[in-house]
């Protein structure tokens, strides 16, 4: 199985190798243009490094021919030659190091500034997209595209200056070697492509095993997570050994993939050590003949071999540089997918304005998630300003969707929605709090006075527990901040909606996580709030519904009835049944009590 996976990868790889190079070129052209200046500086540093590498062998030749051999063959100390040689060697060495510093610093600058630019572009794009677009994408996926994928796209920028310097180095050193001695130069130059291809070939092969191992590791962590998560079941059925066995099988696949990789790696490491040494030996033997024939000096030969040794390091790691390419190309194409998507229109622009005295006016509204069936069909309703209205209906009948349509988060297929001036404050079923202070979560950084925040918290019945916190409204909700219960979070979200001072409040089952007493208090507070605020509540608790001025009874995607709770209870059987279902628990106990009574 492992072998097959690798073979598949081989064939598919060979097929699009050329295409990938093209893509890589396009990627480089597209992202280098974001910060060309940094990139240019990095490449300049790399060029200095390349030229100095070749030049350093000239310094060594000087030292050998004019200092060492002069001393040992002729017994003479040439101090001026020593000074010149030392300056040459140290000077060129420092310059070479400086080239590296510039190259690496600016390569990093290019990479991370480009990542910043790309991430910001993606952020601007996703912020501009309306809720509909966000619902079509997974949160984790979007985050990955802003973060991991953007980073992957720019990963190619870091080694790029170095790769170009290796090219320069190979060209310069090849010409210099050929200039020093043609036959010896030819022999040395043939090693470049040899090592290059060995490297690239190795990197490709080993990557496949590494990727395979990475996949196995992913499977393993998933399985381990699940197994530990279910430890209660494992224990209660005495399945500890079975589970260990199951995980052992997955682990052994990971181990085997890694051992396969070690086999390839060990061969490569050995060849990488042997090939340059063998070529070096050949160079020395042939070089000796050239020295004998008088074509070159001992210094020439030594510096030749010295240069050859210096070149081996970049050639050793060049394969690693190429291994970034597929990764970057994949990351960039995922980033582009987001950037190339057109911005959807904002449903908010479709919302009209009502006449005075009317808070919400909806007519002939149609909405569906799927083309086959409408969730909301031909719905019309009319809510007067200042009323507290409950929307009641069975689970999944479209209550939440209706609120989101009113809030302008999503667009209807057809029909019209008009609202009175002053905007909408929507409190979601699941409160979302930002990892900021409570104050921020209530004000959302809008211009809201402290008094107003306090008042909103009191109405939402969260002032009390906030006061008990050491720093009150300045308490952070972040990772190291306090953790609030579900009911507390909902009350903070409600306080937010109130503080934003919108003319219409939409509460989506907001108070269901509160205990009945607190819930009743909150609803009363809302009703007592002065001003002309209209409150629409999706509710399932009979006690809550009873507190509303009027009830919109939703069924089969339309408003089936619109009246006071008591009126609906008396005139509609289906409504009564629904309310009974909401009270199921109480109902079953009541019947139980009756049987008990009978027994007595």
């Amino acid at each position: 199985m492992v072998e097959n996976a690798v073979d598949d990868a081989v064939t598919s790889d060979a097929k699009d190798g050329r295409g990938r190079l093209k893509e890589a070129t396009r990627l480089i052209i597209e992202i280098v243009k974001y910060h060309p200046r940094y990139f240019f500086i990095a490449v300049s540093g790399a060029t200095v490094f390349a030229v100095c590498t070749v030049a350093s062998s000239i310094g060594l030749k000087w030292m050998i021919d004019r200092v060492i051999l002069v001393r040992f063959n002729e017994g003479r100390i040439d101090s001026s030659a020593i000074v010149v040689g030392s300056i040459l060697i140290i000077g060129i060495g420092l310059l070479r190091a400086l080239g590296v510093v510039v190259r690496r610093s600016y390569a990093g600058k290019t990479e991370w500034r480009t990542a910043e630019t790309i991430t910001n572009k993606v952020l601007d794009h996703i912020v501009a997209q309306p809720v509909k677009w966000h619902r079509q994408h997974m949160t984790g996926d979007i985050v990955a595209r802003c973060g991991v994928d953007a980073d992957a796209s720019v990963a190619i920028l870091a080694p790029l200056p170095f790769s170009s310097s290796v090219l320069v180095m190979m060209l310069v050193s090849a010409s210099w070697m050929l200039y020093v001695d043609v036959p010896l130069g030819l022999l040395a130059v043939t090693v470049f492509p040899l090592l290059l291809f060995l490297n690239i070939g190795y990197q490709r092969r080993i990557d496949r095993y590494y990727n395979l191992a990475q996949r196995e590791l992913g499977t393993l962590s998933e399985a381990v997570h699940e197994s530990f998560d279910g430890v209660m079941v494992v224990k209660s059925f005495g399945a500890e050994e079975r589970e260990t066995q199951r995980l052992a099988v997955i682990t052994s696949r990971l181990r085997d993939a890694r051992i396969d990789a070690v086999y390839i790696r060990s061969i490569f490491e050995a060849m990488l050590d042997a090939i340059p040494s063998l070529v070096n030996i050949a160079l020395i033997v042939i070089g000796a003949m050239r020295v004998k024939s008088g074509a070159m000096s001992v210094g020439d030969l030594s510096s030749f071999i010295y240069l050859f040794t210096l070149l081996m390091f970049p050639l050793r790691i060049i394969g690693y540089l190429f291994s970034e390419i597929p990764h970057s190309v994949a990351g960039w194409s995922r980033v582009r997918e987001i950037l190339d998507e057109p911005i959807m229109s904002d449903p908010l622009v479709l919302i009209g304005k009502t006449q005075t005295g009317t808070a919400i006016e909806i007519s002939d509204l149609f909405f569906s998630h799927t083309p086959e069936s409408d969730l909301i069909k031909n719905l019309s309703l009319h809510i007067e300003t200042g009323r507290t209205v409950a929307i009641v209906g069975a689970t999944g009948c479209g209550k939440t969707t209706l609120l989101h349509l009113i809030a302008g988060l999503i667009a209807p297929q057809s029909g019209s929605i008009s609202l009175q001036d002053g905007g909408v404050g929507l409190v979601f079923q699941e409160a979302f709090l930002f990892a900021e202070t409570l104050r921020f979560n209530i004000t959302l950084d809008a211009d809201v006075t402290t008094a107003k925040v306090q008042q909103a918290a009191e109405i939402a019945e969260c002032a009390e527990f906030i006061d008990e916190l050491a720093v009150g409204f300045d308490t952070s909700m972040g990772e190291r901040g306090v953790s609030l219960s579900g009911g507390q979070r909902q009350r903070v979200a409600l306080a937010r909606a109130i503080a934003q001072d919108r003319s219409i409040l939409l509460l989506d089952d907001t108070t269901s996580a509160l205990d009945p007493a607190t819930e009743a208090k909150v609803i009363r507070n809302l009703r007592e709030m002065n001003g002309h605020q209209t409150v629409v509540i999706v509710a399932s608790r009979p006690s809550t519904i009873a507190l509303a001025d009027e009830v919109l009874y939703m069924r089969d995607g339309v408003i089936a009835d619109h009246a006071a709770h008591s009126v609906l209870l008396s005139r509609r059987d289906d409504y009564r049944e629904l309310i009974n279902a909401f009270e199921h628990d109480r109902d079953s106990t009541a019947s139980l009590n009756r049987t008990n009574e009978k027994d007595i």
């Binding site: 400086l98 500034r113 949160t139 890694r258 063998l278 001992v298 809008a446 937010r496 009979p542 007595i600």
Partner: protein, 597 residues
């Protein structure tokens, strides 16, 4: 941190690691020998150059045949050395993978046997990362760090030997001039690690902010309040880039410092060598050889400094792994187990007390969770445990199921102490259905078979029939082969309960411990659930943790717990008549669920 103790602890940790995974240390001596021979390939060229210059490349007397002969010997040595190198890499790699495999298996087994107190939500992630990321730091270390220690260590050793044999004074000069490199690299390395820590932190902060921006998008849209959050995110983007660039600059200085020291060392050697001259037996070839060896000698140093930190990370990972293995496992298995008599099982609790205080990680005072509970439950009786949260219901149920052992006292099943019952038998005869039953992300059938892997299709069907679940199963898209999704997420809460009940029924237990779900389920599932529950508990000794008093009211007998004590014991009717804790709770509960206004 205290250095000497730290080092001592490091050695101890490594020794313990090798003890736990003997594969890691197996044949390490032979591997080292192979590495030593393998590093010879890298000194062959400098030696050949030295020999050629001294004996074959005299001015006016170039002996090509001599050099060719030497070359042949050198080539053969290189080939032999490279084979040896390959063996070393291979041996290290294989023993690593085998060893880490062994540690992982030990961890799985141990973690599954840890007591439930060590398996809370907060520790779950930590336990998972012990077997994944912590072991991965070891993998990383062995595939690079350990290789560097092994290969570069032997290379430096061999190079130093060759240098000393050429000329010990020049060798000392070389060592002395390059010594400060260690210090420079070490301090740069420390700064680099600190800078990367900051970069990593700012990176995870960035991802956190982005993820908040994305998941809060509906809220932000609803209030048109993107601006503050977007600008905060962009600030995080910038500071992440800044911290990465800063780390990059430190790395940029670290990288070429080896080269700077190399040229300084070369110049020092040449000057000292030339001044000393022929007198000391020094030759021109040895001088040139030295220049080449300097590079060989300094190359590994840079890698060593990088590897030191990786080694520390790996040792820290190993230490965390060992600390998990040091955590005592849950109830110990029975020595000389006693067989449970067949047939219905009675339960007896004798002087039962329990406290979590024995755990080192709880800072709470040692308040006992259960105190002196003694009672007996006849076979086939249905018991409901009732009480406020924290009253000890769940703990009591766990003790009966032997998911924990009591601090004092004993739990007897049909007269046999639970700690004398062999675990497999206990699990066959007693089954726990937790509040939020866990389902594996597989099919329903897989989840049922988890209870009893050797059950046949007929067994499954008969259980389904017994619990009257046929209708529900046939309503599923693929019947029993329906996939349930992560943690059973594609089923409703009620349906997950149904699967858990069927799973429990499959083992045909004599004792049933049920933790009732608190979350509301839809009316349809509610009916199916209560039917299945009734069928499952019929004829079985049943202990239910009742969250709804309607459930309690149906039980044969109710135990009311308060602060770890049984304060009331009797049937619903009797307790209602007494007008004490139960009657009060019941009255409160009735009003709470009543229609308001």
């Amino acid at each position: 941190m205290n250095e000497p103790i730290g080092r001592f602890a490091t050695a101890k940790t490594i020794t313990r690691g090798v003890n736990i995974a003997p594969d890691l240390g197996k044949g390490i001596g032979v591997t080292f020998l192979f590495a030593l021979v393998g590093s010879l390939a890298r000194v062959v060229v400098p030696i050949l150059i030295q020999q050629s210059i001294d004996n074959g490349l005299q001015p006016g007397n170039v002996r090509v045949d001599y050099i060719a002969k030497l070359g042949l010997i050198a080539a053969i040595s290189v080939v032999v050395a490279s084979f040896s190198l390959r063996r070393a890499v291979l041996r290290l790699g294989i023993s690593t993978e085998q060893g880490l495999y062994g540690i992982r298996i030990k961890l799985y087994d141990h973690i599954h046997r840890l007591s439930l107190a060590d398996h809370n939500e907060e520790r779950r992630g930590a336990l998972v990362s012990r077997v994944t990321s912590d072991i991965e730091t070891l993998t990383m270390f062995f595939s690079w760090g350990a290789l560097v220690w092994l290969l570069d260590g032997s290379l430096m050793f061999v190079v130093a030997c060759v240098m000393l044999s050429y000329d010990w004074i020049l060798a000392l000069v070389a060592f002395a001039v390059s010594a400060p490199l260690f210090i420079v690299l070490r301090s740069l390395q420390k700064r680099l690690v600190a800078a990367y820590d900051i970069a990593r932190e700012s990176n995870s902060m960035l991802l956190g902010t982005i993820s908040e921006l994305v998941s809060g998008t509906e809220t932000l849209r609803a209030y048109q309040a993107h601006e503050p959050i977007v600008s905060r995110t962009k600030k995080a983007v910038r500071s992440r880039a800044d911290s990465q660039i800063r780390a990059g600059v430190i790395g940029a200085f670290l990288f070429p410092s080896g080269e700077v020291f190399a040229v300084l060392t070369i110049v020092a050697i040449v000057i000292v060598g030339v001044l000393r001259g022929v007198g000391g037996g020094l030759t021109a070839g040895a001088m040139v050889g030295f220049v080449f060896l300097t590079y060989r000698f300094l190359e590994p140093i840079a890698e060593f400094t990088e590897v030191v930190d990786q080694t520390q990370t790996a040792v820290a990972g190993l230490r965390r792994v060992l600390s998990v293995l040091d955590t005592p496992t849950g109830p110990p298995s029975a020595i000389n187990p006693i067989a449970l008599p067949s047939g219905p099982i009675s339960i007896e609790l004798r002087d039962l007390s329990f406290s979590y205080g024995s755990r080192a990680d709880t800072q709470d005072d040692d308040l006992p969770v259960l105190r002196n509970i003694s009672l007996s439950i006849p076979a086939q009786q249905h018991i409901a445990l009732v009480g406020a949260s924290g009253s000890g219901k769940t703990t009591l149920a766990r003790l009966i199921a032997r998911l924990a052992d009591p601090t004092i006292g004993s739990v007897m099943l049909s007269g046999v102490n639970v700690n004398k019952i062999e675990n497999n038998e206990l699990r066959r005869r007693l089954v726990v259905v937790p509040q939020e039953p866990f389902l594996f992300a597989q099919t329903i059938a897989y989840n049922l078979l988890f209870a009893k892997p050797d059950a046949t299709d007929r067994d499954l069907l008969s259980v389904i029939k017994q619990l009257e679940l046929d209708e529900w199963v046939s309503s599923l898209p693929d019947g029993l082969n329906t996939k349930v999704g992560q943690r059973g997420s594609s089923l409703s809460a009620g349906e997950r309960q149904l699967v858990a009940l069927a799973r429990a029924a499959l083992t045909n237990p004599d004792v049933l411990i049920l933790d009732e779900a608190t979350s509301a389920v839809d009316a349809l599932a509610e009916v199916a659930l209560s039917r299945a529950l009734r069928a499952l508990s019929a004829g079985r000794t049943t202990v239910s943790i009742a969250h709804r008093l309607s459930t309690a009211a149906r039980a044969d007998r109710i135990l009311v717990l308060e602060h770890g004590k049984v304060v009331e014991d009797g049937s619903h009717r009797v307790l209602m008549g007494r007008d004490r804790q139960y009657a009060t709770m019941y009255a409160q509960w009735l009003t709470a669920t009543q229609v308001g206004a």
